[in-house]
Every structure is written in structure tokens, then in C-alpha cells.
């Protein structure tokens, strides 16, 4: 539904005028570097990954300012079991031994950098299975565009949050595709992903990573997407509310994962 509204705004705006864009110089302040943690645990049997880095100035390049000397561990609070992570490369990535997360379990990520320890908790939601992907064509003012549709049976009577990560020809599509079942609890859901860039062409391979995430993680990504205008006009930018304590940026997500691919007809 939010995407529909968004498209409306785009059409309304385009029909009215031809907006003009230009790159400008803005003199931005440089905040002191802050710790950024991105932690993920899934229900797949893999080595799970935590990335620790620092913020950079806007004018610098986008390469990760890696933190190499952190102590990283994840605790399964339900089983009271600790998994240690070790640094693997120069990009600030820490990996665990092979293990499988379990839906319904609570996890706590702990990252120690210098004397400061940052922790966050995430509960892995119940697993919802991805039924299928389909491709739909929608015509907007004479131009036909193709979009991926995600089809699955939502779990009734509980709140489910979804994050869809879309890849086109193995390249991750930027932006955030999120869903929350408050409008379709217990229904068979067909959600159209209104992805703009790149446009889907016949022969493209699309892959969808289907995640069930907890509410904090859903809100974290939703807050970032709102700044860009997801769900209505763009909001005043702000840092998304992180589930880490002690002022670390980023998120820790324990999620279930499924994957399916399709070729655009």
C-alpha cells in the first residue's frame, strides 16, 4: 500500500512540472567517528557474520573504516550458549563457527571495542515460508514496467515483519523492501516490489532473499526508508533507533531466511 501512495506522488509531481536536479556543494560538519555494528544471525547452517566499523566524513570515500580489534560474541539466551566470532578480513568482518539459529530463541550480540562493550538483543521470529515469486506488469501512463511479486501465506494471529532483499543479476537492488502484516494478518499475501533501478528486462535473473525479522529491526529499516519517502512524503532525517546500547549505530537481527530465483519472461 505504501508503494502505491509513493507512486502516486511521483506521478502527480511529474505530471505537474519537470523538476530539475543538480549536484551541489554543501559544507557539512564532521562528527567524531562512532562505532557501527551490523550483526546477523539466521536459521541457516552457516558461519554468521558481524561487521564492526566507524562512521566517516561525508566527503570521504565509501570504503568501510574497519575496526579490526573488537571482541565479538553471540549468546543464545534461550539455551544459554555462547558463540565466539573471530576477525576474518580487513573489512571489519567477524565470523562464527558453523551453526544454525532457531526461531523463537533470543540472541544477544556483544561487541567490545577498547574498554567499551556494546550489546543488542534480537528474538528470531517464527518462520514463514516463501511460496513463490511471480512477475507482474503494470502500465503507468503508457509505459509498461515489470515488477517482482512475493507470494506467501502469512501466519495468523501474530505480528509478522518481513524484509525482502532483491538481487537482479546477482547485484543487490538498493533500497528497503519491508512489510508488516497489520493489513493482512493470516492472509495469502501478494506483495509487489516497486523497484525502480535497474528496470527489469526480459532475461534478467532475479533472486529474492525472504527474511522474517523482529519488530525493532523492521522499524530500524523502515525509519531509514522513510527519509527517502517510503510511506508518504519524506520525513525529517534522523538516525534510526538502534537496538544497541551505549550509542553504537547499526542493528542486530536474528531472522529466518528463504531464497527463490526467477527469470524475467
Amino acid at each position: 500500500m505504501k508503494n502505491l501512495i509513493l507512486i502516486f506522488f511521483a506521478i502527480g509531481a511529474l505530471a505537474l512540472f519537470n523538476a530539475c536536479e543538480k549536484v551541489i556543494d554543501v559544507d557539512l560538519k564532521e562528527a567524531d567517528p562512532l562505532i557501527v555494528i551490523e550483526g546477523n544471525i539466521s536459521d541457516e547452517f552457516v558461519a554468521h557474520k558481524v561487521t564492526v566499523s566507524r562512521t566517516k566524513a561525508f566527503t570521504e570515500n565509501n570504503q568501510v573504516d574497519a575496526v579490526m580489534d573488537a571482541q565479538v560474541s553471540v549468546k543464545d539466551l534461550t539455551l544459554n550458549k555462547l558463540y565466539l566470532f573471530s576477525a576474518t578480513n580487513r573489512f571489519g568482518e567477524y565470523k562464527s563457527e558453523l551453526f544454525k539459529g532457531a526461531p523463537g530463541h533470543n540472541y544477544e550480540l556483544s561487541v567490545k571495542v577498547g574498554n567499551q562493550t556494546y550489546t543488542a538483543q534480537s528474538a528470531m521470529p517464527e518462520k514463514v515460508f516463501l511460496d513463490s515469486l511471480s512477475i507482474t506488469a503494470i502500465s503507468f501512463f503508457g509505459e509498461e514496467r515489470k515488477y517482482v511479486k512475493v507470494n506467501y501465506q502469512d501466519m495468523p494471529n501474530i505480528a509478522n515483519q518481513y524484509r525482502y532483499v532483491l538481487y537482479v543479476n546477482n547485484e543487490k537492488v538498493k533500497g528497503y523492501f519491508l512489510d508488516f502484516d497489520r493489513f493482512n494478518d493470516g492472509k495469502y499475501v501478494n506483495s509487489t516490489l516497486f523497484s525502480g533501478d535497474p528496470e527489469l528486462k526480459t532475461g534478467d535473473e532475479v533472486k529474492l532473499e525472504f527474511q522474517c525479522v523482529d519488530m525493532n529491526v523492521y522499524r530500524y529499516f523502515f525509519a531509514i526508508s522513510q527519509i527517502g519517502g517510503n510511506g508518504g512524503p519524506p520525513t525529517t532525517p534522523a538516525n534510526p533507533t538502534s537496538n544497541f546500547n551505549n550509542g553504537a549505530l547499526g542493528y542486530f537481527s536474528a531472522y529466518t531466511k528463504e531464497e527463490k530465483s526467477a527469470i524475467i519472461p
Binding site: 502527480g12 530539475c20 536536479e21 560538519k29 564532521e30 566524513a57 501512463f141 525509519a223 510511506g231 534522523a238
Partner: protein, 778 residues
């Protein structure tokens, strides 16, 4: 208790009034002032009795006046800006009634500069008030040539545009929802069309528009920042006329005339855009069936029943419609209806009773297969208003009244077919009952000192039915309580004192001071950088308290060169309580627990407004300048530091010039300059899952580049031929003459040509835009 106080005061005033009357033999002169050509009543026309002493008043919203004066011989002068004054000798030895008609300058085809009582702006204790001249609005250049009251308003000091080409406005640091916009007394909840670029007010149908930026008279209440009181034309009581225009964006047509000559009349005015007409030429079927337009319909009728009773019936209906064949439909709009009865209880007591309905709603439809649904949302009120105006004696003009409003908000009703993946659900309606009573007295203490004081009491009851929650600091539900229909959930009582004084040093110099408290019971949730037709209204509840603003202002007013020039300087400070923001990541759409995510804080705004206007002559116009600051403070935002509100603009300058080059040509130009908006820019960045995310260190700590623009317009009036009714005129306009690329938004993103870098991209909306409009009348 307070009611008693009012009645006591009223009695006292009556008593004082009769006392003087007995001593001096006072008599009442009353009547109505009208336009001689159309029979429309004139609002704010001046009535003066010049004798041993001078007595004066102005006509009210219905053209009615009443003066209490001692017996004697007087020169009676009626005057109104743009009209030829009438002066007659009158001997008062008993109560008298005089209805007069003034002749408009248009019919005389000459510039009338002999309006008396031109120093009303100096004398009137009410501050921060501006009356817009509808004729002036018509000659000021505007985007796409669509003349617009709200955009003209933005050229006045203390009133700022909500954005490029936007009809939304900010008054003295308030947000857009803190403006009370009234059309024939009915609240207009969303005063804009098509994402804010056009206002809902078709100026053909408008007779009078007055804005109060502070020092609101006690009869108005319910919003913190301003009152914009717009009144529709009553309709020509003498002749049938048809007026219209064809412009770039829209066409307009107005028909008015007598139902029964001199006794009753009607007015119907419509406007519709036709951008979508071009879609019909497309060969593509989905384009062909698409819609994109808005329309406005204003209608009014009035019936003079007898000397003492007049009935007015007026309504507005406007709607925006967007739709794509077989995919989406989205439409929204306002409906208002007002039924009024003017009644004269005596020649001293004027009464108006109004029954008012207003409604704003939107409807979204998705027709996509397996995903069909529709969302309906509405806000509406029923309003019963009783106003009295009592002429006690010439020193006191007393107004009092009652106002009972029932509010309903239907946040969202989602419907869907059984096959749809969307569940049909309904978010509970919210109901509230507002009871207000007011009393005010305009008291001329002596020739130099004028007072306007009074108070408004406002009682708001949040009513069931519904389930109401309480929340902890993080927005988790603590308790639930279910209320039956009509059951009281929470009551809020507020006393709003209003006082204003002016002291005149001389005929054309005065200082004024005022204090005003305003409260607001309805709140628009918007954290966005733009307004949207789907923005959510909420009302007071067990969690949400009324917003409160206290404003003090002082001012210096000076007219010079025989009142040709008007200068004012006003200084204000406003303190705001119970302001509302919401947490990051809050989704307002279809949210049953919006109140869980609300944050409450404070606001303050202060500034100085300078205004210099040349009022008469071939060349007239004004310069307005505002130096201002407005901030907000919320414990949960920026660690509780005060931050700039998004409407904070340090400097704001408007220059308007109108030049009557010849009897047929009028040229006009406007220039605006303002400091850029207070915005939040990143102070750092980081990578998450291969995407750049920005780090923000302070709310609204940056500024967009300054905004400035020059517009120009020229109007060609027809040659006046006696006896010819048909007239046509042309308006030509150029918006943004020097094609300034003003910032609409600035976005930060990865450089599409070099993914390893980030860049700032500025989007500008309107470059240079010419326009032409053809108007006709017969």
C-alpha cells in the same frame, strides 16, 4: 464560575451604558452599508458621526452597524476603501435607521482616495491583523496565473510560505495545522489542492479575507498560530451577471443574481483544472482513462426576510481526483455548509446564529488483482454558534457568544474483497465535544486609549466509544480501558484571556500591546518535509493534551503623508506547550496505536515584523520584512536540546509593487527573499549491507540555500463603454523571471557515476513560467 463573571460584567456594562444614556439622552443609529452596484454588504466600512464630538464605528461581518450617540446635529459620513464616501447631515433626536449604498471606484473608473477614517489601522487596538483586498489579489502575479488568496497572504510579514509554489503557510513560527482557516465560519481542514500547489479558495467567490497573526478577538479559538477568516460573496441583489476566466491550469465561471430583487440573491462559482484533458488524446488505453484534476464549487444564497431577519445559506465543495485505469484511484476534498440567521433583537442587540458542517475526507482505491482494497478516512464537525453584538454606549462594543462543536475523526476504514490479500479492518473513530463561550469588549477609554479585552473559555471532552490505552516511556501499552458511546474519557478546561490596548499619540501615531492565549484540541500529525492529503488528524485524549500558546506583542504604528503611507513595527514572543512530534520509524498509516509513538514538547517563537505600505495613488504596494526565530524542545530529540523548527527562517522579505500605467493597463511585480529552510543534513556516513547510511548529529542544524524570486504580471482591462455590459480582460504573468533554481529538496546519495563517493543533489521545481488568463464578464 467564569460564566457568572461574564454575566456580571455584561450587566455592569449595561448598567453603565444606561446610566450614561439617562444622563445625556443617547439614541441609536443603526443600519446596513452596501455596494450600490451589486447590493453586496460591505464588511468593515466606516461610519462616522461628526458633531460636537465624533462617534465612529465599522460595519460587522454582515454589513451591519449600530452607534449610540447623544441628541444633536451631525455630519454623517460613510466610507470604505475603494468606494466614494457619502456625507449627509443628520439631526438625531430619536432612534434612527439608515441603510446606505456606496458606489465602487470600478464603476466610477477613477481612483478614489477620499476614504475617510483612514487611520483605523493606527486606532484599532487589535494587532497583527491584516485584511486582504480581493482586488489587490487579482493584480498580484502568481504561479500559472492562478490567483490565490493564500499565496498573496504569504507576501505579508510574519507569514511564510510552506514551500515553493505551496499554498500552505506558517504564521509567527507556527506549523500549518496551527492556522484556523474559516470559510463562512466553517473550518477548512485541508486548504490545498494537488499536493499543495493551489489553494481551495477560488478568488471569484471571495468577498473578504482577514488574517489574525496574534491578538485574535475572543470569538475565534481552536488554533495556536492564526485565524484566517474568509467570507464568500453573497450574490448580486440587483442584476444577473456571469463572470469567468480561462487560464493555463483551470477555467472558472461564476453566475450571480437576484432571486427577488433587493430581497434575495444567489451566487454559484466553479473552477476546474484540465491538465488531464490532454490525456484523452493518448492512444494508450491506460492513459486515456486516467484522471488528474481538481474542482471547486462555491454556492451561496441569502434572503432578507424583513427588517430584522436575514438568512444566509452557503456551501463549498471541492475535490481532487487522481486515478489510473485499472490500478489506483485516490481522491480527497472538503465539504462545508453554513446556515445563518441574522436577527435584530433591538437596535442595540445584533444576533447571529450559525449551524455549520464541515468535512474533509479521502478515499484510496487499489484495483490490483489479489490486492484490491480501499481506505476511507474522514474528519468532520457539527458546529452550533451563537454570537451577539451589543452596542452598550459609544464607548463599549460588546460581543459574546457560545459555540458547541462535535468532532469526529475516522482515521481509517479499510475495505477489501474476500479474494484480496488485505483484511478489511476499521480503526476506531474518535469523538470529542467542544464547548466554548466568549466575551469581549472594545472599550474606548478616551480619544487616545482604546482597549479590547475579553476571554474565551474552552472545554473539550474526549468521548467514547472506543478503547483507550496508556503507555510507558517506550510506547508499550500499560493499560486498556473501553468506553461506551458518549462516555467521558477525559475533560480539558482552558481559560484563554485576550487583551489588547492602543494608545494614540496623535491622529496618525500609536503604540499597541497585546496578550493572547490560544489552545488547540485537534492536531495534525506531520513530521514530513511536505504536506500530504493523507496526513493524520488526532484529537485530545487521555494521552494527548491541548496545545497552548501564550503570545505577547508590542507594536508601533504610524501613518504619514495624509495616511497615504502606513508603517508598522511589531515585536512578538510566543510560548507553546504540548507540541507534538513522533518517534523515528513511526508509520502513521492505518496505525491503531499512533499515540504510543507520540512525543510531547515545547516551542517558542519570537521576532520583529516591519511593514511599509503605500495605500493609494497610481503606484502602490508594500515592503514587508520579518526577522524571526522559532524553536522546539523535546526530551527525546537531540538529547533534549532546543532545535530549529522546520519553519524557522531568519530573514523574510517581500516587495510588492502595483502600478496603474494607464486606465487600461495595470503592471505589478513581486520580489521575495528568505533564508533557507532549517534542515537536517548528514554529519557522517557508514555502510550497512552494502548501502550507504547517513549519520545525523543535530535536528535541523543546517540551512538550504536562500530562496529568492521575482514575478511580474500585466493586466489589460477593457475599454469602458457606457451601456455595454460585456467586458473582457487579459492577464499576463511571468513566474520566476530570472529563472532562479530555488531548492525544493536536497538529497544525499551515492554518486551514480562513482559508487565509492557520495554527493548532494538539489531538486528545483519551477523555473521561469509564463502564463496567460482571459477573463470575461457580462
Amino acid at each position: 464560575m467564569f460564566k457568572k463573571l461574564i454575566f456580571f460584567h455584561l450587566l455592569l456594562s449595561l448598567f453603565v451604558g444606561t446610566n450614561i444614556a439617562q444622563a445625556q439622552k443617547y439614541f441609536v443609529l443603526n443600519g446596513t452599508v452596501k455596494d450600490g452596484g451589486t447590493g453586496e454588504t460591505l464588511i468593515g466600512a466606516s461610519v462616522q458621526l461628526k458633531g460636537a464630538a465624533t462617534f465612529a464605528t465599522v460595519t460587522n461581518a454582515y454589513g451591519y452597524y449600530s452607534l449610540s450617540v447623544p441628541a444633536g446635529v451631525y455630519e454623517l459620513v460613510y466610507s470604505y476603501v475603494g468606494y466614494q464616501s457619502i456625507s449627509q447631515n443628520i439631526s438625531i433626536g430619536g432612534d434612527a435607521k439608515r441603510n446606505v449604498s456606496l458606489t465602487s471606484a470600478n464603476q466610477l473608473n477613477e481612483i478614489v482616495v477620499n476614504a475617510e477614517k483612514r487611520n483605523a489601522n493606527v486606532e484599532n487596538p487589535i494587532m497583527g491583523v491584516q485584511k486582504l483586498d480581493v482586488k489587490e489579489i487579482n493584480s498580484i502575479p502568481v504561479l500559472f496565473g492562478e490567483r490565490d488568496i493564500l499565496k498573496t497572504l504569504q507576501l505579508l510579514p510574519g507569514i511564510k510560505s510552506a514551500g515553493e509554489g505551496n499554498s500552505g503557510f506558517y504564521v509567527r513560527g507556527g506549523s500549518t495545522d496551527q492556522n484556523l482557516i474559516l470559510l463562512d465560519e466553517a473550518t477548512v481542514y485541508n486548504a490545498s489542492h494537488l499536493l499543495g500547489f493551489f489553494s481551495t479558495f477560488n478568488s471569484d467567490a471571495i468577498k473578504d479575507a482577514t488574517i489574525y497573526k496574534g491578538g485574535m478577538p475572543a470569538q475565534y479559538g481552536g488554533r495556536l498560530a492564526s485565524v484566517l477568516d474568509i467570507k464568500m460573496n453573497d450574490g448580486n441583489k440587483k442584476d444577473y451577471t456571469v463572470e469567468g476566466g480561462i487560464g493555463l491550469i483551470a477555467s472558472r465561471l461564476k453566475v450571480e443574481g437576484p432571486i427577488k430583487k433587493e430581497k434575495s440573491s444567489f451566487m454559484v462559482s466553479g473552477r476546474r483544472t484540465y491538465a488531464d484533458s490532454f490525456l484523452a488524446f493518448s492512444s494508450d488505453t491506460s492513459v486515456k482513462g486516467s484522471t488528474l484534476y481538481f474542482y471547486d464549487l462555491n454556492a451561496k444564497a441569502n434572503f432578507i426576510l424583513d427588517d430584522k431577519n436575514t438568512i444566509y445559506l452557503s456551501g463549498y465543495f471541492g475535490r481532487d481526483k487522481l486515478g489510473i485505469t485499472n490500478s489506483f484511484g485516490f481522491d480527497w476534498g472538503n465539504t462545508t455548509a453554513t446556515l445563518r440567521l441574522n436577527h435584530l433583537f433591538s437596535n442595540r442587540l445584533f444576533s447571529n446564529t450559525s449551524l455549520i458542517y464541515s468535512n474533509y475526507n479521502y478515499l484510496i482505491k487499489s484495483l490490483l488483482e489479489d490486492n484490491d482494497f480501499n481506505v476511507k478516512s474522514a474528519i468532520r464537525n457539527y458546529n452550533l454558534k451563537q454570537d451577539f453584538q451589543f452596542t452598550a454606549n459609544n464607548a463599549h462594543e460588546i460581543k459574546f457568544g457560545l459555540n458547541l462543536i462535535h468532532h469526529t475523526i475516522a482515521p481509517g476504514d479499510i475495505g477489501a474483497s474476500a479474494a484480496s490479500s488485505v483484511n478489511a479492518t476499521k480503526i476506531e473513530n474518535r469523538n470529542g465535544l467542544e464547548l466554548a463561550a466568549y466575551f469581549s469588549d472594545e472599550y474606548n477609554v478616551n480619544d487616545k486609549l482604546h482597549l479590547a479585552y475579553g476571554a474565551r473559555i474552552s472545554n473539550f471532552s474526549a468521548l467514547g466509544s472506543g478503547t483507550f490505552h496508556t503507555y510507558d516511556e517506550d510506547g508499550n501499552i500499560l493499560t486498556n480501558q473501553t468506553y461506551k458511546s458518549g462516555e467521558l474519557v477525559k475533560n480539558y478546561f482552558n481559560l484563554e484571556p485576550r487583551i489588547a490596548a492602543s494608545y494614540q499619540f496623535s491622529n496618525n501615531k500609536s503604540v499597541k500591546a497585546s496578550y493572547t492565549r490560544n489552545t488547540q484540541n485537534l492536531h495534525l500529525m506531520s513530521n514530513s518535509t511536505a504536506t500530504s492529503p493523507t496526513d493524520l488528524y488526532i484529537m485530545n485524549s487521555n494521552n494527548v493534551k491541548p496545545e497552548i500558546a501564550d503570545q505577547i506583542a508590542i507594536g508601533y504604528f504610524n501613518n504619514f503623508k495624509d495616511d497615504t503611507y502606513e508603517f508598522s513595527a511589531e515585536l512578538y514572543y510566543k510560548d507553546m506547550k504540548n507540541q507534538i512530534e513522533y518517534r523515528n520509524g513511526t508509520d502513521l498509516r492505518g496505525n491503531k496505536n499512533v499515540e504510543a509513538d507520540l512525543l510531547f514538547g515545547d516551542g517558542r517563537a519570537y521576532g520583529v515584523e516591519l511593514f511599509l505600505k503605500k495605500r493609494f495613488g497610481k503606484f502602490n504596494g508594500w515592503i514587508g520584512y520579518t526577522l524571526a526565530k522559532t524553536e522546539r524542545q523535546f526530551d527525546q530529540i537531540d538529547d533534549g536540546r532546543w532545535f530549529n523548527a522546520k519553519q524557522d527562517r531568519t530573514h523574510d522579505l517581500s516587495v510588492v509593487g502595483i502600478y496603474k500605467a494607464s486606465p487600461r493597463w495595470t503592471l505589478s511585480s513581486t520580489f521575495v527573499y528568505n533564508t533557507g529552510n532549517a534542515v537536517t543534513y548528514p554529519s557522517g556516513k557508514y555502510q550497512l549491507d552494502g548501502e550507504t547510511v547517513f549519520y545525523y548529529s543535530e535536528r535541523n542544524g543546517y540551512r538550504t540555500p536562500a530562496y529568492h524570486r521575482l514575478d511580474f504580471s500585466a493586466t489589460l482591462e477593457p475599454k469602458l463603454k457606457p451601456g455595454r455590459k460585456y467586458q473582457s480582460s487579459w492577464s499576463f504573468g511571468i513566474y520566476n523571471v530570472y529563472n532562479r533554481k530555488n531548492p525544493f529538496s536536497i538529497d544525499f546519495e551515492d554518486d551514480p557515476n562513482d559508487a565509492s563517493r557520495t554527493q548532494a543533489v538539489q531538486t528545483s521545481l519551477f523555473g521561469i513560467i509564463p502564463s496567460v488568463t482571459w477573463n470575461f464578464k457580462f
